[in-house]
């Protein structure tokens, strides 16, 4: 299999997961898709390194997240700066319940949102989230727990709280 084939296969296999994760963080599907594609462009520029990783998707996830969050912050700041001229553009993409969920996610503190997305969207174990985010396991568990409770409150759902 050629280098390009490896790249294309990774792109097709992981772009959906990455999009779901970044979308959950930013709440803007267009921005999330741009970020994922931008991360793949940067990956090809250094494919000799990224492609040899045991887990290149992790590199893409970190890169796409950084791109998306910086883009989202820029958009937010722009919206604040031009508040007299109207509000930021509405979220495009999925409608209805999904938008409600993602809008609720966006109201959570960033660390809770990241923990929920890593754990529930990508299935990462708590210990690995702890290592990747630089937080102790107890803190990650607390973020997940509080994030779920807050999410339930924002969505008006009454759920019983269990352990992680």
């Amino acid at each position: 299999m050629s280098r390009a084939d490896d790249y294309d296969e990774l792109y097709r296999a992981s772009r959906g997961r990455l999009l779901g994760y970044v979308y959950a963080l930013t709440g803007d599907v267009t921005e999330a898709q741009d970020a994922v594609q931008e991360a793949f462009i940067r990956a090809w520029q250094r494919w000799a390194t990224v492609g040899s990783h045991e887990n290149p998707e992790a590199w893409l996830r970190v890169t796409a997240t950084r791109i998306a969050i910086s883009g989202w912050r820029r958009a937010r700041n722009r919206a604040r700066a031009h508040v007299r001229h109207g509000t930021a553009q509405a979220v495009s993409g999925p409608d209805g319940d999904t938008v409600d969920v993602v809008a609720a996610l966006r109201r959570l503190p960033e660390e809770q949102r990241v923990a929920l997305a890593l754990h529930h969207l990508l299935g990462m174990p708590v210990k690995d989230i702890a290592a990747e985010t630089g937080a102790p396991v107890g803190t990650v568990k607390a973020r997940l727990s509080r994030g779920r409770v807050a999410l339930a409150g924002l969505l008006g759902t009454e759920w019983e709280v269990h352990d992680v």
Binding site: Q45, E54, V101, A117, L121, P125, K127, A130, G138
Partner: protein
């Protein structure tokens, strides 16, 4: 509740299936164009500088300033070849738009599986770009943290991390050694360890929230930090222990959660490695730190 959240995230994933994606060949073409642009730009800059020197030297003191028309026809035009017209995903501001690769941390610079054990493997490998990672201990909930104004650890120029797992990587109870290596400027690298010591002094003991707290049994976490050892590896090193216990507000008894963790920070020149164990094994982490320091020599020539 996990089931409900999982249903919600499944819904997100399902609805995003309709998104139309660029062909991977387009992304590769965009990457190639950017790389070409950055390669072309470097000699052009040199050419412009040489031309500037020639103009200055050639005309001598008081020489005529080149006219605008001459400048326009100069080589700077080549520095920004126009795109070929192929679609290119947008690049958010605040992120590099050129293809210049940032300095990277090679995987060989990190503690390896064989440094930990014969049956250990590398898991969860990742690279991080500047600005992507926070404070080395991640404990910004310490009340004194904000006042410390810690910034150097956040300014790494390149970073890489992985987990060395012994046993099943899907088993949360398998032994794990977390490794994160970051390159800084020389000044910032030394400041990272200084900041770690400042953090421990300022956050020696404090209370925080805990997920063990319920309405019926309110609880809090008691977190403490201490420096266990210094100068055991590399140019400079510090070993820090974190103790975390959850305590019932009413009786002061354990609320069921508690942990000890160790962080070893090892600096060799401008590179810092953090070795992290979620077990209280100070002698083991010091031995691993010595090996981690040797690994850093890949990035720091003639460091041994």
């Amino acid at each position: 509740m996990s089931d409900h959240v999982d249903q919600l995230v499944d819904r997100i994933a399902g609805e995003l299936n309709a998104v139309r994606w660029a062909d991977p060949a387009q992304l590769r073409a965009t990457a190639r164009r950017r790389t070409l642009r950055s390669v072309v730009a470097v000699p052009v800059v040199v050419l412009v500088l040489v031309a500037g020197v020639w103009a200055t030297v050639g005309t001598g003191p008081g020489g005529r300033v080149p006219d605008v028309a001459a400048s326009r026809s100069g080589p700077t035009v080549m520095a920004s070849p126009s795109p070929t017209g192929a679609p290119s995903p947008s690049t958010p501001a605040g992120t590099p738009s050129t293809g210049t690769a940032p300095p990277e941390v090679p995987v060989e610079a990190l503690l390896q599986a064989e440094d930990v054990g014969t049956d250990a493997i590398l898991d969860n490998q990742y690279m991080s770009l500047p600005g992507e990672q926070g404070f080395v201990f991640g404990h910004d909930e310490c009340p004194a943290y904000a006042g410390l104004k810690i910034v150097a650890p956040l300014r790494h120029t390149a970073g890489r991390g992985h987990t060395v797992v012994t046993g099943d990587p899907h088993d949360a109870d398998s032994d794990r050694v977390f490794v994160n290596t970051r390159r800084y400027t020389a000044k910032d690298a030394a400041q990272v360890l200084a900041d770690a010591r400042r953090f421990v002094r300022a956050c020696r003991s404090y209370r925080a929230g805990t997920e063990a707290s319920t309405e019926r049994n309110p609880a809090h976490a008691e977190i403490s930090w201490s420096v266990l050892a210094e100068g055991f590896a590399g140019d400079e090193s510090v070993l820090v222990r974190q103790r975390y216990v959850s305590v019932l507000d009413s009786t002061g008894e354990s609320a069921g959660q508690g942990a000890l963790a160790l962080y070893a920070l090892i600096r060799v020149r401008d590179v810092v490695t953090i070795v992290h164990l979620q077990q209280d094994q100070p002698e083991r982490i010091k031995a691993l730190s010595v090996k981690a320091a040797v690994r850093l020599c890949v990035m720091v020539p003639s460091c041994r």
